[in-house]
């Protein structure tokens, strides 16, 4: 009996002693770019020769595009190829992880390609070098001319696997291409790959074009052009080249933008000097007036769930940003800071609204939460505006103009991008001067 009691009571105490595991909370990390090695893709020697480009160089070119994409994010640090410890022909083998770790790489991309029967087949593998295992492996088959897109898709897949958010490399940017002197600008609608390649001009330049906006669900662009000296909203199908005027309004229509489902266009419509916000169903062509106020309401943008609209209005005296339900009720002013606020754009993630702010003659691009709190100004310059979100809501693209003298000399307009941390600002190369960029959604979903 005594023994039982003894053991029982002893057990009790030993139980109490069992919580010995030391725990340490790690609540911070670094945001240093992740070192990644992109090995040139191995070109299968059996590949067919194609006249447009050098097949044997294709593997290297693809890896270069992937590297450039990664570098532009500011989140990755592609390592120099001279330091690589294994040749590209490791594509079908497991890499020697220890060796790659020596050059401080944390991830490795290997791959191979083959051109056969006029089809390009690309395979790639992403390796986690610290864990010594494969993270993702995919293969694509396409026409050889699409090789740049393959590189972008590979970049997207790797980006997604390493950061947890979708990529934005297999995308295009529509913008207004500008040439000629400042007072006689020729403005054409243009479109290019996100990295500045494959530029195409979609209009001839005999009419002014402004504010192209991508439909997030397909490759339709809406933009503003002049028709009999009146600004009108147009729709353009990039694939077919067919364009049409949206509706037949007595006054001028401007600042068009698609709804998140792509079925409506929301825009401003001005009549007798007063502009309000209207939406139009693209199928039924039914127009609905959303705001009804004697002030100037313009630049509408839907929230990604389509339930709210943000816009700017001068109803308080100065131009400020407002949010309302998509039926026009519950209008609420969200900016209260000093200066003017305009061109609000809702992030595709839904959490932020990007805007342009003008204060004391300087222009800022900033972001804030959708209730107006947490305003952060990302970049300041002489003149910049029209932010447009990357499809994953991480990067903003906008344009910046330089100061010119009275004769218009020294004037230029360029596209720039900045990520929402504000640390990674880059200029996008375009063939001509450029303004009013709009970022498409991912081409391959």
């Amino acid at each position: 009996m005594r023994k039982i009691l003894l053991t029982l009571s002893l057990l009790l105490f030993f139980y109490n002693n069992a919580y010995g595991l030391i725990t340490v909370d790690i609540t911070r990390g670094n945001l240093d770019p992740l070192p990644i090695a992109v090995s040139p893709l191995h070109v299968d020697p059996k590949s067919e020769k194609i006249s447009q480009f050098k097949t044997e160089k294709l593997g290297e070119e693809i890896s270069k595009i992937v590297e450039r994409n990664f570098k532009s994010t500011g989140l990755f640090n592609p390592l120099k190829k001279d330091a690589f410890v294994q040749k590209p022909d490791i594509a079908h083998l497991k890499p020697r992880f220890e060796d790659w770790r020596l050059i401080k790489a944390q991830a490795l991309v290997t791959g191979k390609l083959l051109i056969k029967d006029k089809k390009l087949k690309v395979e790639f593998r992403l390796w986690d070098l610290t864990a010594a295992k494969e993270m993702v492996a995919l293969s694509f088959t396409t026409t050889p001319n699409n090789w740049r897109r393959v590189a972008h898709i590979i970049s997207d897949k790797i980006y997604e696997r390493l950061t947890g958010e979708s990529g934005y490399f297999d995308t295009r940017i529509a913008y207004v291409s500008e040439t000629g002197p400042k007072n006689q600008r020729i403005k054409k609608l243009a479109i290019m790959d996100q990295d500045g390649f494959n530029t195409k001009y979609l209009t001839l330049g005999n009419e002014l074009v402004l504010t192209p906006r991508f439909n997030t669900t397909n490759q339709l662009v809406t933009y503003l052009s002049y028709f009999k000296n009146m600004p009108r909203v147009y729709l353009l199908d990039i694939e077919t080249g067919i364009q049409e005027v949206v509706g037949n309004f007595p006054g001028m229509t401007f600042a068009p933008r698609f709804s998140p489902d792509g079925k409506k266009i929301i825009m401003s419509f001005a009549k007798d000097g007063n502009s309000d916000i209207y939406s139009m169903d693209l199928e039924t062509r039914v127009v609905e007036q959303i705001t009804k106020h004697p002030s100037i309401d313009t630049s509408p943008s839907y929230s990604p769930d389509g339930k709210y609209i943000t816009f700017n209005s001068d109803r308080s005296g100065l131009q400020q940003i407002y949010v309302m339900r998509s039926d026009g009720t519950q209008v609420k002013r969200i900016t209260h800071g000093a200066g003017l606020y305009g061109t609000p754009v809702w992030s595709p993630r839904g959490d932020l609204i990007a805007f342009t702010k003008v204060r004391k003659g300087r222009f800022y691009i900033g972001v804030m939460r959708s209730d107006g709190s947490g305003e952060r100004l990302l970049t300041e310059n002489f003149y910049q505006e029209a932010p447009s979100w990357s499809p994953n809501g991480r990067v903003l693209i906008f344009y910046r103009e330089t100061k010119s003298d009275s004769k218009g000399k020294g004037f230029s307009a360029k596209l720039w991008s900045i990520d929402i941390t504000g640390y990674n600002e880059r200029r996008l190369k375009t063939e001509t001067d450029a303004s009013d960029p709009s970022w498409s959604s991912l081409l391959s979903k």
């Binding site: 340490v24 909370d25 609540t27 990390g29």
Partner: protein, 268 residues
């Protein structure tokens, strides 16, 4: 009949006794929570002294000597050094009492409880003094082994928490992992982002085995971010190795749990 009654009585007193022993344990936990914070606060003050004891003392002395060499009149460092032993007992005393309450490993702390229990039982016409004594003995034995362990593992006399790392040791480890952890940026702010990793370490701080404790969450649909987060945490630990663990006391930290949670950082 009377024997049955006796057994029943014995059993019931045992149950009551056990309840009395365990209940405070259970009840204390929520009450204990706020004091843990205050203990930490004291330790932070303490921290400047404790960590410097084994290693830094040498360095401090070196510096002192150097300063002496340079300026002979400078008595300041020496005065500081004198102050030290006076200061230390203050927070340490406090700490020790708190530790006792928390860990219940000291016989002195438990005794009153047991005595209470035995008095209570005396009234019930049953002598459990013997049991109490036995328990006391067991308790003493355990405390002794604990003390032995302490002697074995802790070169620093000041470290009164036998288990767990001191704040400075923890800080060193934490700072090291902060540097190795590349936080994936595409994480949703409003989801539970806690990744718990259990490590088995070698004496040199290298990793013998690592295990993600909520492994099942890795493959839950719609939680793909969790897998990415967990992988990044594992990468951090692997890149960091050998981990900066204390040079002594392998038994204490041969198993470690790291809780990675970037919520604060992402929101901030």
């Amino acid at each position: 009949m009377s024997r049955g009654l006796l057994y029943s009585f014995l059993f019931h007193t045992l149950v009551i006794y056990l309840t009395m022993l365990t209940l405070p344990f259970m009840m204390r936990e929520p009450i204990d929570l706020p004091p843990i914070v205050s203990v930490e606060l004291i330790e932070i003050k303490d921290k400047t002294y404790i960590p410097f004891a084994p290693k830094a003392r040498k360095i401090i002395e070196k510096v002192k000597e150097e300063k002496k060499r340079v300026v002979s009149e400078q008595a300041l460092p020496a005065a500081k050094a004198k102050e030290k032993p006076d200061r230390i007992p203050m927070p340490e005393d406090k700490k020790e009492t708190k530790e006792l309450i928390k860990k219940k490993q000291n016989p002195e702390e438990i005794k009153p409880q047991i005595r209470q229990a035995s008095e209570f039982e005396k009234e019930e016409l049953f002598d459990t003094n013997e049991i109490a004594a036995l328990i006391d003995k067991a308790k003493e034995e355990q405390a002794e082994t604990q003390r032995k362990k302490d002697e074995l593992t802790q070169s620093s006399v000041k470290n009164s928490f036998a288990q767990g790392l001191s704040l400075s040791e923890e800080d060193a480890l934490r700072a090291q992992i902060f540097g190795c952890w590349s936080v994936p940026l595409g994480l949703p702010y409003d989801k539970d982002l806690l990744v718990r990793i259990k490590l088995k370490l070698k004496p040199d701080g290298r990793i013998l085995k690592s295990e993600i404790l909520d492994h099942a969450r890795m493959n839950v649909p719609g939680q793909s971010f969790y897998k990415i987060l967990a992988e990044s945490a594992l990468r951090a630990v692997r890149i960091c190795q050998p981990l900066k663990v204390p040079p002594t006391g392998y038994e204490r930290w041969k198993e470690l749990q790291l809780n990675f949670d970037p919520t604060e950082m992402l929101k901030g």
